[in-house]
């Protein structure tokens, strides 16, 4: 079979993206392809010099996402065990962020369709919630308790089984 020629899409072109607050970023096409949204835009020839505008992603999280994608695209297939572990370490450090950044990443990764990052951020949030008392969780996430004490008691009673199983050291339940 005659070898088909690579099309332009296979080259190491840099893809430009623009955050909601107008900052420009660049990443290799392979990195951009980790985002479903960007990949579709690239395939539709929307990736021009002006950059792909991302209307709901601000510069701060976008910088992180560009980092994440660039790292993961460089090591996408045929990983050695060491490389896989290095990538795991990278992820672990990468997601050590404050809750504000975590929300930004949750929303942005979901919007941009970066599956690996979505999972990472979701797991991190779950880890933060797990094993804490409701009071601790409210504090961590700034959740305002809008129940009356009576309602609270009712809910405790309603889901008593759940509170008994994992036994959080709660004053309430």
């Amino acid at each position: 079979m005659a070898a088909a020629t690579d099309d332009a899409g296979d080259s190491n072109e840099m893809i430009r993206v623009v955050s909601s607050d107008g900052e420009h970023f660049e990443m290799p096409e392979a990195a951009a392809n980790l985002s479903l949204v960007l990949r579709h835009m690239i395939e539709d020839d929307c990736a021009d010099a002006a950059g792909i505008p991302l209307a709901v992603v601000a510069a701060k999280p976008l910088a992180k996402i560009v980092d994440y994608c660039t790292k993961h695209a460089a090591k996408s297939s045929g990983l050695t065990i060491e490389e896989a572990e290095e990538l795991k370490r990278f992820d672990a450090e990468f997601i050590e962020v404050d809750t504000d950044m975590l929300y930004d990443l949750l929303v942005a990764a979901d919007f941009m369709g970066v599956e690996g990052l979505s999972k990472l951020a979701v797991q991190r949030t779950a880890d933060l919630i797990k094993g804490k008392t409701p009071e601790q969780n409210r504090e961590t996430f700034g959740i305002v308790n809008d129940f009356t004490p009576e309602e609270e008691e009712e809910i405790c009673k309603e889901n008593e089984w759940a509170f008994q199983i994992t036994k959080p050291p709660s004053r309430l339940c």
Partner: protein, 786 residues
């Protein structure tokens, strides 16, 4: 904004409010979809704990698609969770209860019944730790196919039989009850049940089963109440029964089996070979066997049990008889296959094995799994000895010792002819030409490798643990796999075939049947259609790495609904469109309206309404259209390939679509289909081929594919008409509709509709919608989560 939108509006307001306050509680402001993903990773109990955080969180955990209620959950919790479940899509409900006081199962069972009615859950498993269970007097589990009750104690008059029978469990396929107490009279009358497993129903006195579709019935230790030695009373009417396991008391006077002409497998208690000859235990076994009068046993499985001798036998005991078995002269004239497990090779056993060879004149295969301590060389020796005593060489059977995964493999001859691999049988052995891998380079077959295990093709030996076939060849779990390589000067089909599946005769029978179908059906279809009559070269994709063409998208959170539209309601829907068009003066449009147009119009308008789009948002309706009959000349019916294109209506503002009404939308769909002519198809085919990702998303549009004209229910493999046709989870997105023929035929249509949960919830409130369709009787497959 329409009334009824209050809840959504409130949610949106809340979202924006939270975002506006400087991100104070931004976690709660995240969309449900993301929060549910987070809760899923917490586990059900921990997720339920979040209900205390705030109002936003109170019922969030109830949206989880899976519930695993641990032993601490009581009926009230389960009821609350199920009752609070906003968007019903429980995939799986697992309840485990312990014996702590009376469990108010009646609290939640009716709720569960309603929940499961309109829903996707098809399996319900309850382990009740001998909690008292009173069968709820009402409740219909319309979609439940699999009910399993473990450790249940029934109290009060038990109507379980009534509960699991057809009127209340119309779809139940499999019923399992283990370790039940208090079930004395069990009467099952079900048209849908295929399998019943009853085990240890302590105290059962009477069992009555009327199940015309039943294929498997296992009754184990239900009547066997050693202390009372009560007479079992049973009446089984299951004319389609194929497998019957009756490890229980049997008395032909009180246990009645109706006609079972398809019975293929009968299992009983073990038969005591040693000990008293006239034991009532053996007597019952024999009577059971006699009842079914197997005069042609094609397959016999023997398990030799070594029971510790508790007392000395009497001098004339059975086990003192000479160990050569010559006193018994049996004629096993239909026995083809024997499997013996855990053979230790004692003199006694080997004498028996030799006798089998002489009793079974047409024996073809004997498989022996030796006891683990027997070495391979001993096994080999024992097999040789056993075969040495064969009476007639002409019938010398193939004797293979094997582990289940490894029957003997032999390829006696193979030849390559024009790229086709042909394997033929050797003498005396069975054809096993199955594991063939070949490499084709430059258009000619330059190398072929044939891999076999056990080349002598006649007898191979191994002790348990030996595998006769290399696992890298078989690889996964497929019984058969094939590749077809299209070479420049030939076609090279190659197969990997798991020999445990069948012998060579059956393999070639299968392959030839396949080839015959291909010859007959595909002969006409081989040439690919192209606008210039086939002169142009085939399209070569501009990629070296085809992986780039494969997009694996994560499906969005979707709800799926199966809808059924009968021929009558379609006719009414069509008539309504016709009347509206006539009133609007569009006589041509009115005359042309079809059922498809009418249904499409209904779906298009109701979905658009459910989406609550901005009034000026333009919407289009798209559908895949068949080119085959529209091309001039038309393609032959057998044409194998893709010949469809998408067509679409004109874009119309959402408000206008709703205002113009059903008739107009039906006519618009009709126009979209009508413009799809030979000329248009050729023009589109002549466009420069381009490769683009399959677009799965148009937030305001909808797409109808598949066709009620496809013969789905005629596809009968010999097991009868299919119960339902469904299309899996691939290529699904908000607004996707797949059409199938209705099972009853006659022009009825089933529609599989995919929408986001909130759009589906809105659609379900639409009266116009429900006037023409109803939920299909079977709901399967929730494709929201991979």
């Amino acid at each position: 904004m329409e009334p009824g939108d209050g809840e959504l509006a409130a949610k949106r307001e809340k979202l924006s409010a939270a975002a506006g306050t400087g991100g104070e509680d931004r976690l709660s402001a995240l969309p449900d979809d993301i929060l549910i993903q987070i809760l899923l990773r917490l586990g059900t109990a921990c997720a339920a704990q979040t209900s205390i955080l705030s109002r936003r969180w109170r019922l969030l955990w109830c949206l989880l698609p899976e519930f695993d209620f641990g032993p601490k959950a009581d009926g009230y919790n389960i009821r609350a969770a199920l009752a609070a479940h906003e968007v019903p899509s429980v995939r799986h409900l697992l309840v485990f209860a312990t014996a702590t006081g009376p469990c108010p199962i009646a609290e939640w069972l009716p709720v569960a019944a309603r929940r499961l009615c309109g829903d996707l859950a098809t399996s319900l498993s309850l382990n009740l730790g001998f909690l008292a269970l009173a069968v709820p007097p009402s409740g219909v589990f319309a979609w439940l196919t699999d009910l399993s009750l473990h450790s249940v104690r029934f109290h009060g008059p038990c109507e379980l039989g009534d509960a699991v029978s057809s009127p209340r469990f119309p779809s139940l396929k499999k019923l399992t009850i283990r370790n039940a107490q208090g079930l004395s009279n069990f009467i099952i009358n079900s048209k849908s049940l295929l399998q019943i497993d009853l085990m240890s129903l302590n105290g059962l006195q009477q069992l009555s089963v009327v199940a015309p579709a039943l294929e498997v019935l296992n009754v184990l230790f239900c009547f066997a109440d050693a202390s009372s030695r009560r007479q079992p009373v049973a009446s089984i009417s299951a004319p389609k029964l194929e497998i019957l396991q009756w490890c229980d008391a049997f008395d032909p006077n009180s246990v009645q089996f109706g006609k079972m002409e398809n019975l293929q497998w009968l299992g009983t208690y073990y038969f005591l070979v040693y000990g008293q000859e006239d034991s009532p235990h053996n007597h019952e076994r024999l009577r059971l066997l006699q009842h079914f009068q197997f005069n042609a046993i094609p397959s016999l499985t023997l398990m030799l049990a070594y029971l510790p001798a508790e007392a000395e036998c009497e001098s004339d005991c059975f086990c003192d008889l000479p160990p050569n078995w010559t006193t018994d002269q049996l004629g096993l004239n239909f026995l083809h296959e024997v499997e013996i497990t855990n053979l230790r090779g004692t003199e006694h056993e080997m004498a028996f094995v030799k006798r089998i060879f002489s009793w079974a004149a047409v024996l073809k295969e004997m498989t022996i799994n030796f006891y683990y301590s027997i070495t391979e060389s001993t096994a080999r020796e024992l097999c040789k000895n056993a075969k040495g005593g064969t009476a007639a060489d002409a019938h010398r059977p193939q004797c293979a010792s094997a582990f289940p995964r490894a029957t003997s493999q032999g390829l006696n001859q193979s030849s390559f002819t024009n790229g086709t691999v042909v394997g033929a049988a050797g003498i005396g052995g069975t054809v096993t030409a199955v594991t063939v891998g070949a490499t084709a380079i430059g258009g000619t077959v330059s190398a072929g490798t044939v891999r076999t295990a056990g080349i002598d093709g006649n007898v191979t030996f191994g002790t348990p643990g030996t595998t006769g076939i290399s696992s890298d060849v078989i690889g996964g779990t497929a019984g058969i796999a094939g590749t077809v390589t299209d070479l420049d000067d030939g076609v090279f089909p190659g197969f990997v075939y798991y020999h445990a599946l069948s012998d060579g005769t059956a393999f070639w029978e299968f392959l030839n049947a396949w080839a015959e179908i291909a010859r007959a059906r595909l002969a006409l279809a081989r040439r690919r259609w192209s606008p210039d009559g086939g002169a142009a070269a085939p399209v070569v994709l501009p990629y070296v790495d085809l992986a780039r063409l494969i997009a694996r998208t994560t499906p969005p959170l979707l709800r799926e609904r199966m809808l059924h539209s009968s021929a009558e309601s379609l006719a009414a829907l069509k008539e309504r469109a016709r009347q509206e068009l006539l009133a609007a003066g569009d006589a041509a449009g009115a005359a042309a309206v079809t059922g498809f147009q009418a249904l499409s119009s209904l779906l298009w308008r109701c979905v658009t309404r459910a989406r609550r789009l901005a009034p000026d948002q333009e919407v289009v309706f798209r559908a895949s259209v068949n080119n085959r009959g529209r091309l001039r000349p038309p393609l032959p019916a057998e044409y194998f390939g893709n010949s469809i294109l998408a067509t679409s209506t004109e874009a119309v503002p959402a408000s206008e679509l709703l205002a113009r009404g059903h008739g107009w939308a039906a006519a618009a769909v009709g126009r979209a289909v009508a413009v799809h002519t030979d000329e248009v198809i050729r023009a589109r085919a002549a466009e420069t081929p381009s490769v683009s990702a399959f677009r799965l998303f148009d937030a305001s549009g909808m797409f109808v594919s598949s066709s009620p004209r496809f013969d789905m229910y005629g596809c009968d493999f010999g097991w009868g008409k299919a119960v339902a046709a469904r299309s899996g989870k691939a290529n699904k997105y908000d607004g996707k509709v797949s059409l199938f023929p209705g099972r009853e035929g006659g022009g009825s249509i089933d529609a599989e509709v995919e929408l986001t949960p909130e759009h589906m919830a809105a659609l379900e409130q639409d009266d116009e919608f429900w006037s023409a369709v109803k939920p299909d009787h079977l709901l399967l497959v929730n494709n929201n989560f991979p």
